[in-house]
Symmetry: C2
Subunit: 150 residues, 2 copies
Amino acid sequence: MPRNRPYAGLPAREVALIGRLTQQRANVLKALMAVEGFVGAQALHSRMADDGSPVGLTTVYRTLNAFADAGRADVVRDDNGERLFRYRPGPDHRHYLVCTACGLSMPVDSGPVEDWVEKTARTSGFANVRHTVELAGLCPDCTQEQAPAR
Amino acid sequence: MPRNRPYAGLPAREVALIGRLTQQRANVLKALMAVEGFVGAQALHSRMADDGSPVGLTTVYRTLNAFADAGRADVVRDDNGERLFRYRPGPDHRHYLVCTACGLSMPVDSGPVEDWVEKTARTSGFANVRHTVELAGLCPDCTQEQAPAR
DNA sequence: GTTGAAGTGATAATCATTTTCATCTAGCTT
DNA sequence: AAGCTAGATGAAAATGATTATCACTTCAAC
């Protein structure tokens, strides 16, 4: 393993966003990018340990937060208040339908909401309007697994 | 103070929703209804203590959760992950534009979002889709106070 | 290579929320 | 009116995610 290319394989634009280049951060980012949907910091931490890239939980939190601050990750909260992160390849603003059971996330066409938000902000007299839109439910697979079980 | 009418002054329809009628619950509900915008459980708890209606923090949490479960309170999460509650007079589902500076909340016409959510849920194959829509910004008053200040 | 600022991570601290559990009470039943 | 008991209360402890500490390590500029 190349000792001095910790960020090998990562998109170049990600590197500049989070400060110094270290092996740990590279691993956290790779792990985050490898996940399909949203992941919690703890889940990512133990997943990395299982994959042979153990990193301190503190570092996972720090890197994830830095990445979210840089706008390269979406953050949602699940019902327990836990923050879930998701890698965002592009700079575009998206909304997702997240499965509460398996974490699978499906991008949804949020055009209508964006329009509504924009119009509402304009007519309200409020400045600097930010919006949070979260959809959560049971994905088809998890619905099947659950229904016959009872 | 009437010892045997703890729910005096509360809308009758609220009574049936939360089980047994106790002085403490009545006080929590009255306190919640007296608040303009959203309140956290802790804030409500200390506000009640200041007002001379001390109630255990546990009971505040329990009552607030029961009320939210019954659909009579809206719940949002602030940036710290704290849950904020707001009394909802009618049974209708509303969304609000909340001022980040003063907490003022203004109901917005959420019809378009509801439609969009419903359509998205229907076409996604997901079951049991819940949605969270939060708008936050600076209300006109706070905008004025802030702009000239710098 | 030296050096200093930045990063790491085990551990402890925080903080909102939930559990526990011994005690109390609303609101029937007799 | 007294008794009964499931439901309610609340102080204290537990939980669980996240953040702060701090001694130690490492990146990367010189």
